[in-house]
């Protein structure tokens, strides 16, 4: 599951492609942690090219969304693919986590 990074004025954007299954969720967590440790105020997880998102991936998103919020910072999902958007909606994550959703 390729993950690329792009620096932004206020933080960092991670572009995730392919299936976010259990093993890929671990890789995502490593990248999110690195982004947070780099001091980014906002971390965007761009899921436009993610074809699949399971509960393991959702737990990573939830854990670090909470952690960033608690630190006065922000983690947002950007441009979810239709399948990912469906999963985020089904689980009630969409409104609070997707950039521009609410």
């Amino acid at each position: 599951m390729p993950i690329t990074r792009k620096a932004l004025p206020d933080g960092l954007e991670l572009f995730v492609s392919g299936r976010i299954d259990g093993a890929a969720a671990n890789e995502l967590e490593i990248q999110v942690l690195e982004a947070i440790r780099s001091g980014a105020k906002t971390v965007y997880i761009n899921l436009a090219e993610a074809s699949f998102l399971c509960s393991a991936g959702l737990r990573v998103l939830l854990q670090y969304w909470r952690q960033m919020k608690g630190a006065g910072k922000s983690l947002r999902v950007a441009n979810p693919s239709p399948e990912v958007n469906s999963v985020l909606t089904m689980t009630g994550f969409r409104d609070q986590m997707v950039e521009g959703a609410s």
């Binding site: 299954d21 259990g22 399971c54 959702l58 939830l62 609070q96």
Partner: protein, 143 residues
């Protein structure tokens, strides 16, 4: 004639990487629409992940059996294991009224199984947990 596909995987989360390919091949053989394929894919990964995570508390190798069956108008997904008795239907539903700050992290997998499949059933038979999930396809099975 029904399309049937059977697989076995070890109780190792890395083994779940095979599931996407199994489902894709099965969906092509059965002529399933993408939304049906995606639903089976997600529900199956969640079900199998739960089995691997909770069915055994030793460090031994165990096997999980997955059966996919496409009949006219319906797909049936069965996951069975010889682990300790566990009925996923007893997992409390996710409280969607809670904001993310207060959400419990557990129960998401079973929630997604219930959301994506029209029926989720459990039985215990001959020392095995058997979870059966069904989804209507509204189409004939291709031969």
């Amino acid at each position: 004639m029904d399309i049937v596909s059977e697989h076995r995987l070890r109780n190792d989360l890395a083994e779940t990487r095979q599931i996407g390919g199994w489902v894709e091949t099965f969906a092509q053989r059965a002529g399933l629409k993408p939304e049906v394929r995606n639903a089976i894919d997600l529900a199956l990964i969640e079900c199998v992940t739960n089995v691997i995570s909770y069915a055994w508390n030793d460090s031994k190798e165990h096997w999980i059996t997955v059966r996919l069956r496409a009949s006219p108008g319906e797909v049936r997904v069965e996951v069975s294991d010889d682990g300790r008795e566990f009925n996923p239907l007893t997992v409390p539903p996710v409280d969607m009224t809670q904001p993310l700050e207060r959400r419990e992290p557990g129960g998401l997998g079973v929630h997604m199984m219930r959301q994506r499949m029209e029926a989720v059933e459990y039985r215990r038979e001959d020392g095995r947990n058997i979870v059966t999930m069904k989804k209507r396809t509204g189409e004939a099975v291709s031969l």
